[in-house]
């Protein structure tokens, strides 16, 4: 399907998921949250959310537990850097793809569920 009929002749995007394109494919490393160490997950109450606050792409949810949207997460690693309990680690994307069945790589509830 072509874009001839698109209403703008320029690059125009609105705030909302995906209007910058599927930037998750840019990721080299994937942040994985260890729920055993994550403060809101451990307490079962709204707490911390430093990762949600610092994420420049707004792909971490303010939920219990926090989840990461891998469709758009570029893998910058700021969340892992900022997490005060070191609950987030950056894992090579190639390893995640190679071990797709590895439950450790699938511990989040992003919109692209692990199989």
């Amino acid at each position: 399907m072509g874009t001839r009929g698109y209403r703008y002749k320029t690059s125009h995007s609105l705030s909302g998921p995906g209007d910058g394109g599927k930037t998750g494919s840019w990721r080299v490393q994937r942040p994985i949250i260890d729920l055993e160490r994550c403060t809101p997950a451990r307490r079962g109450s709204e707490a911390c959310f430093i990762c949600w606050l610092y994420c420049p792409d707004n792909v971490i949810s303010r939920t219990i537990p926090p989840t990461i949207d891998y469709e758009y997460c570029k893998g910058c690693g700021i969340c892992a850097e900022e997490c005060p309990t070191k609950a987030i680690t950056m894992v090579d994307e190639a390893d995640v793809v190679a071990n797709d069945e590895d439950p450790a790589a699938c511990s989040t509830e992003g919109p692209r569920p692990c199989t």
């Binding site: 209403r7 320029t10 609105l14 705030s15 209007d19 599927k22």
Partner: protein, 402 residues
């Protein structure tokens, strides 16, 4: 109203009449008096516009880009190294499809430092996606500014109105000042294709991926390549829009007629000289002299350089035996850019077997080197008679003294 003033003032009055709402500019010779005059108009309350003093030409065009993105009619002006300092924003304004108008008061580019006239500054910007109009006298300057806003807003592409530094910017000539009521009939209020709206925030021209994408409404949105193709497509279509604008202008003001080319005694010409700007008017005298000697020669001024009016030019010169391109710029390492353009336009006809004139390129007036009418006459006389002439080291560079 009739007026005798310099070319910069003619441009400034045109901008005032066009109702530009935002002016952002940085002083550079020989453009400075133009934006000084605009700031005087605004200060005196004669013009309702925001004048934004900026710290550089890059900022000047950036301010115009922002203003135009909100739906304001924006204007700037510059010359030479100032234009080059804006270069990144020059591309941006075209890619963002903003109908900004900019006067380029043509001046040589350093190094070495030089403030005099040639066309290297604006010619070097020919690939940026802007429309480029060239003026030959003060009447064309003031009229072209009005047409530039009309064309820019019709096609959502910015326009450079180019005129020769000093030769036009600082000389005094009589010209007709368009009446406000007539301007109102010609130039409708600016209705932007899109304007920023605080109620509906949007990102403009952020990172745009190589591929098309589905936007948040589920519609397939352009990738970078589609956006750039549309710019090229609309620039080619601007040839027709410029002519329609010219027709409308002529109907209201009674002046003009051809938006693309300005022929002088070309109907029966065996030889045609092609050029840009005030040089083509100077060549009228050369044509008269050579015609009095029996040489059938004419001049074809190119009014619209980008988009390049290739088809119209081929139609206009194909009957001639020879075409001489005289230009004030060089694509260094090859030849004059206009010379290349003219040959490329004729090549398609040549390929299909049609007879086409020979084309010879000449360079003149680089860095303000005086272009003497007598030199032009001698050079062209020698060219049309095929007679040898003592023309220095390179007969293609008129007036060179090496």
């Amino acid at each position: 109203m009739h007026m005798i003033e310099n070319g910069n003032v003619a441009a400034a009055i045109g901008v005032k009449l066009a109702g530009a709402q935002v002016i952002a500019a940085y002083p550079i010779t020989p453009q400075t008096p133009l934006t000084e005059k605009l700031s005087e108009f605004i200060e005196a309350g004669e013009m309702k516009a925001q004048h934004i003093p900026v710290e550089s030409e890059h900022s000047a065009l950036a301010a115009c880009i922002a203003a135009s993105s909100t739906g304001a009619r924006a204007f700037t002006a510059t010359s030479a190294n100032g234009l080059l300092y804006m270069h990144e924003q020059v591309h941006w304004a075209a890619g963002a499809r903003l109908p900004i108008v900019m006067c380029v008061v043509n001046r040589a580019v350093g190094a070495p430092w030089n403030i005099w006239n040639d066309h290297q500054d604006s010619i070097s910007q020919r690939d940026t996606g802007w429309i480029q109009m060239y003026c030959c006298d003060h009447q064309q300057i003031i009229d072209s500014v009005l047409k530039a806003f009309a064309i820019a807003e019709a096609v959502s592409i910015p326009v450079m109105v180019c005129y020769d530094g000093y030769l036009l910017s600082h000389t005094y000539m009589p010209f007709e000042v368009p009446e406000e009521q007539q301007v109102a009939r010609f130039l409708k209020p600016f209705r932007p294709a899109y304007a920023l709206d605080p109620e509906n925030p949007a990102n403009l021209n952020t990172v745009t991926l190589p591929d098309t994408r589905v936007d948040i409404n589920g519609d397939m949105a352009h990738g970078y390549m589609e956006i750039r193709y549309l710019l090229q497509e609309d620039l080619r279509a601007t040839l027709a829009v410029a002519q329609q604008t010219e027709d409308s202008f002529k109907q209201i003001f009674g002046r003009g007629g051809d938006a693309l080319l300005e022929p002088y005694r070309c109907d029966d010409a065996e030889y045609i000289v092609v050029g840009l700007g005030s040089l083509t008017y100077q060549l009228h005298d050369v044509v008269e002299t050579l015609r009095s000697e029996g040489h059938k020669i004419g001049v074809m001024g190119i009014r619209l350089y980008r988009p390049f009016p290739a088809e119209a030019l081929v139609q206009a010169v194909r009957q001639a035996r020879g075409v001489f391109v005289i230009e004030k710029a060089v694509s260094y390492g090859y030849e004059g850019a206009l010379f290349s353009d003219v040959k490329a336009a004729l090549f398609e006809s040549a390929q299909s077997g049609d007879p086409v004139p020979f084309v010879k390129g000449m360079v003149a007036g680089i860095g303000g080197r005086e272009i003497r009418t007598a030199d032009l006459t001698d050079t062209l006389r020698a060219a049309v008679t095929g007679s040898p002439r003592d023309a220095g080291d390179d007969p293609g560079w008129i007036g060179l003294r090496l």
